[in-house]
Amino acid sequence: MPGISFQSLFIFSALFRVFLIIYGEWQDANMEVRYTDIDYFVFSDAATLMASGKSPYERSTYCYSPLIAFLLMPNSFLHQTWGKFLFSASDLLVGLLIHRILKLRGVPEKLCTYSTMVWLFNPFTFTIGTRGNCEPIICSMILWILMCLMNGHVLQAAFWYGLVVHMRIYPIIYALPIVLLLDPQHFQPGKKPVLVEWSSRALKPSSATSSSKTSITQYIWNFCINMITWRRVMFGIISASTFFFLTGLSFHLYGWDFLHEALLYHLTRTDPRHNFSIYFYHIYLHYEHEFSILEKLISFLPQFIVQLVLISRFALDLPFCLFLQTLAFVAFNKVITAQYFVWFFCLLPLILPWSNIKLVWKGLACIILWIGAQTNWLAWAYLLEFRGKNVFFQLWVASLLFLAANTFVIINTICSHLYSPLFQQLKQGGKLKQGYERI
């Protein structure tokens, strides 16, 4: 494959997104079916309300932080496409950050570019920003947090982490792996953490030192003993303070409407309407009566177990851990909508250079199975929603197949991954504790 410079790729992606935004405006004005996501109109209406001094929650179905409406206020006095340009710029920023993170880890330029293309040229991702969905902003913040940690800027990472959890609850699942990573063996006073180079992924840990398998156990043991470290405490204080300050300010301005719509709604959401989750039909069949505590616990158990195990096994390889956690979180969630897929799509390019998976045939099998299961679900959903056929049972079976496909992808990703901790372990005095020898 001929070499493509990242600059050319980036410029082309930017121009393509501008074209899509302009095309979207044309389609909205001239065709019955609109290009723009319905959520964009919700954001715009909420921003208009905010600009006129009212609560954004007067707009029904607006269930986000008031910060989103604040960012879109120029929609009402500049141009209605301001938000789309903002979201697409965030989308491009995600591409830039992916490239920077991979470069920091020593990935060769060519592989960096190909991995970044997986984000920039993914049809799902370039439509989501240009259609007016705000998820690229969240993704860019997650990657920025990762970069801050890699550069040793823990306090900055803490601030952004508190901000992103305020805007979207789901990144709370990253708290434990991040805290585990803030180990004194990685972060020492006055020194930046030392990243493990990509080129050392072919190496196994030196036999003179403890193997990584036991070092994870050792890390967890060290964590329990040395839980309270300056960095962990400061990370917790700053991220929690940021979260509570923003949440408190929003509550002060908009009251219980904000709390219900932006926070409690997402924490307690059980949507009986059809969605990709295996739980939708179960929830609909039991919607006439409340679920017991036991039933709620049983449905939460798989999610909880998977998250805990993934963190305990892979926390030190943070990008890989975040990817697996996010994919599993979405797959086992009570409600799954297509926009959630962006949450792990932005992390996928960060693990590809460490994956042994061959496109032919294992990689293709994962892609075909995942897309195939989705397409199967969409076909039954079309029959239900647009043809009025009673296919609830078949749609639910399709959602089981989708979970099976997600599980298949998770398993294959784990099997083909070359485990590589993000940071090298340091001795007291900053010397490397763990070396690597060639096979």
Binding site: S60, A202, S211, Y287, S299, L310, R313, R387, L403, Y419
Partner: protein, 315 residues
Amino acid sequence: MRGTLIVSAHGSDEQMEARLLLVRINSVLQFVLIFLTIIRSYVHASTTGQAGYVDKYITKTYFEKHDSLIDPEFDNFIANEIPLTLCKVLEDGNCVLPTLSNLHRSVIGEGSHRHLSSSIIFKFQPELKIKLVAHSCEVIMTERLPSGVFADPFELQHLVQRGVFSDAAVFGDTNLELPSFRSNRSVVEIHMSIGSKMLSRHHDKFEINCEVPLHARYPPLGLGFSRVEFGQPDLFMCCSLEVNGFKRSCAYLPTNNISDYKASPLAWEIPCGIREHAGVVSAITYCFALVSALLIVVLSFCYTDNKGSSKPKSL
């Protein structure tokens, strides 16, 4: 509140004073009651616009006083609480307004998103034509939606912006996400202008076609399909007259003399969950999630860090 005060028959001075005091208190109470009744009437008139005129939306007034849509209460509201003064304002003693000649209704489309189509033909006397055009008259249709369907207010606003209706609004339960057994009914109010173009087509009649986009809620569990039936719409003719400062006056146009509806009520069959599936679906859902989780857990524990011994991919 007419209280009857029972006073002792004993005729001492103290008792006489007590009796007079009680009579005075009674008078004051009755005065306060009359005063409150006047205030209530004033407030009532204010919420219906000024006395004798109708606010922008007819249905809004109903939901200012009631929490939910109940048919007999809405019928009573139309019959007694809306100031239907159009005839008086037009200074038309005979009150010759357009009459409903035909009303054809149907539900168009498939699936959970359909259109409720109403084709309404009015007949009128030719001399009324000039008045209808001159006084910015419009037909207002209020559709009492059955439990199980809803209209998206933002979708209706989009249609207003595109000029399909002159105005539209939804009142009542506008929550788009709840299933029907957790939601209340709603009312859609559609305004359609009577323009000169519409009136010029025929000498003595005009036709209005209205398609309201509706969406189905998830119905209660059943055996396969849940049936939702539509009633008749309520139709009003409203005009804004310059002589009255463009305040809106309305008249009710009865639809109960049209036989079309009575023959076959309009219905929409919505697929519903099957109650018998509950046990199997719940059991398999829990088991499937648990098995998938266990597979990931087992593999994670079996994963070795000696993947470095595998040949890494080359560029």
